[in-house]
Symmetry: C2
Subunit: 91 residues, 2 copies
């Protein structure tokens, strides 16, 4: 999965806030939605984009779907940013 999707996914403030919520612990779709002033289908759409970018994982347990952070891509993104910081030391 290209970082392209991740950069796109991270460009929306709602999606970044969802990730921030998931830093603490996994949450169900409903719990996530309850944090926002937005209808559930809209939140569901954001979750889909985050999942597509591999920034989160989902797992159904009974009636609920639990979402959790997947940090693999965060590491890759850090690597990308690091190439910009890194060059300063070479000067």
């Amino acid at each position: 999965m290209s970082l392209n999707e991740a950069f796109k996914a991270l460009s929306d403030p709602t999606r970044r806030q969802i990730l921030t919520l998931l830093k603490e612990d996994e949450l169900t779709a409903g719990e996530i939605a309850s944090h926002f002033n937005m209808q559930k289908p809209s939140v569901s759409h954001h979750l889909k984009i985050l999942k597509h970018a591999s920034l989160i994982d989902d797992e159904r347990r009974g009636q609920h779907i639990y979402y959790s952070l997947n940090t693999t891509v965060f590491h890759e993104l850090m690597g990308w940013y690091f190439t910009f910081i890194d060059r300063e030391e070479k000067k």
Copy 2:
């Protein structure tokens, strides 16, 4: 300037490539534009967005405007990402 602008600016592949070009050295608007299959006004628009997000600086020298990286916001973004990676060590 909020990181919001930076995240938005970074969501476009052309803009990320402009930043990558500027890792090597400062470049004029024309030099940057010559790397893309796109008219100059479109590149100029991307430069404006990067500048607005404080990801680059510009400086006119005679007829040319030189663009260069401004790494301050890169550091701030790294900090944001780090809060996601960091929590893994706490487990």
